[in-house]
Symmetry: C2
Amino acid sequence: MSTTTLWDVSANNQPHRGHPARSTLADVARLAGVSGSTASIAFSGDGSISAATREKVLKAAAELNYYGPDPRAKSLRQGRSGIVGVVLEDRIIHSFRDPMTIAALDGISQEIGEGGGMLLLTATGVGEPSIQTAVFDAAIFLGCSPHLAGSITVMRQRNVPMVAIEGQHFDGVVAVDLDNRKAAAVMAQHVYDLGHRLVATVTLPLDARRELRALTPADLETATTAVSRDRLEGARAVYPSVTGFVTSTSSSDDGFAAALLLLDVAPDARPTAIIAQSDLIAVGVIRAAEALGLLVPHDVTVVGFDGARIEGFTHHDLTTMVQPATEKGRAAGRAVTELLAGEASPDVAFTCRLHVGDTAAPPTAVAR
Amino acid sequence: MSTTTLWDVSANNQPHRGHPARSTLADVARLAGVSGSTASIAFSGDGSISAATREKVLKAAAELNYYGPDPRAKSLRQGRSGIVGVVLEDRIIHSFRDPMTIAALDGISQEIGEGGGMLLLTATGVGEPSIQTAVFDAAIFLGCSPHLAGSITVMRQRNVPMVAIEGQHFDGVVAVDLDNRKAAAVMAQHVYDLGHRLVATVTLPLDARRELRALTPADLETATTAVSRDRLEGARAVYPSVTGFVTSTSSSDDGFAAALLLLDVAPDARPTAIIAQSDLIAVGVIRAAEALGLLVPHDVTVVGFDGARIEGFTHHDLTTMVQPATEKGRAAGRAVTELLAGEASPDVAFTCRLHVGDTAAPPTAVAR
DNA sequence: CTGTTAGCGCGTTCAT
DNA sequence: ATGAACGCGCTAACAG
């Protein structure tokens, strides 16, 4: 039997390459002269244990440079890792440049808190390693992607609780929604009520194509991104034939470029108002207008969407629909926490609020 | 023997609570009539296997709704998870609001790529669950924190490869550095050469205190944040007795507040130049100056640090030190990849570049 | 090309 | 309060 023990100790412990062998909880237990389960309890603090034995165990651990259970083994044994997977739309870089995504991530982090970490993933399709092989206990889908359905199938099989922020509704997936369509309609109506009749829009990306391009009538049918499609539908509810441009990503650069194309035309063909689907885009539109010598809102009305507080953009107070972006993230984080605790969690729906700034005004009579 | 098999199948399979029992690779193997290892190979594609057997296994898997190996078990067995832990300074929210941190995260994500995810953690000290219990194979410390040394001790014991961006140097931790001290000195010299003699600074947080406050002579000694201390030292090299304010976080709001305190004084006590430790702060300083009716750079010179492209801030071209923030992240990501492959990875040092914009000019004679 | 064997490191029953 | 066994789900060796 002593043979077994000796052989068991750490003979075939091959960590990485030439590194000193790590000590395990079993080593600690042996040195402390207690059994494995007792040592385990000393660390997890779960069962009952005498203060003296715990001391003994901790001392042995210190001696062996043992700093606690291996997260991987623990995670296998307990069936959970404490990690929440946050599935981002496509390239992580896009997400990081979007204030709304950042705000949502921020909200999520507030709720899942210090205990667990957020694992950032991208949904690049089923069969893709990341989402199938990554270790996490729950998933939050941030922004819908064409791959959403596939990802959900896999996760469902794995019994992973799921929350989708502004995605399509799926069975067993908690939805955190925003009234994009209605809010966009409210904004369009606001512009309409000011008297604008010749209006253009600059939308967020509508599908997987990532290029600045003209909006086509077919886009409403073929759109795969729910958020931008809903906002476009909202605008269409007031301006049924509105045209404009589709950006490659929510950025002021794309807003700038699109607005140059829209505004650098004969005065009587020039739209008197531009409805941007994000504040970042709207800022670019305003910059373009000013670069062309047009005054906002005197010559052209510009409205945005999001209520992003854009650093340094201070000479205007953008008229926009303010959305509770951080709150969305918090709700998703809370839902995940509840689901992991085995509780049910209801869908949540958030609404936007019209913020009337100084970038929208009635069209100037002279201009027409 | 059939008893054993039956009992083995899924009798004590208790996933979460009432959920249908997940099938395991063993179930698939049994149904396909092959051994476990063969089934494993069918999924991992590692060993050699006949197309026919693989088909058989995949068919059995489909029948059982089996979508691939459990990441937790796989990770325990292989000793790695494919996850890179990114340890952020303190509250995740602070990091998300800082363009330089975002850029670095972006760079990291570019290098570690689709395969693995980034696990965002905060270093709240040893004993704190997150860093000790989280599953990851390598750690990147983003911005030094007071807890850095402790975190490193734990990770070292766990044989986790480590990279520190702009942290102190530790044995066995790859350093990705920026020449903060020298760059700050270059910038201060630039201001000096323009003729400024009465100069103030607005620094990033110097220690764990998170409040806007006056800079004191003791701060250089007690500072725990290397980046801001180095930048302050650089400024002190040119202006040995420079005073000013310490912000609570890199934001234009804090820059605004600090600048109001610095500039709203008698004209002959007013600094002719303000050296901000970040562009965000500088933007706030400029806003404050303009709010007080001062012209930049005519009445007051303002310089920043970072080279952040701040959305919508366009009426000035900020004079600043441009740092390769995304590149820093990429270097860290690359280092981690190399370390995980068992290769050595050298330290990397980046340098800043002076960008001369239009916010710095010689002091106006009338003002003195 | 496939099957057998032996754990990865831990937590969790049962006993005592 | 403590110890002995067992297996979470999978894969790396080796044998055939």
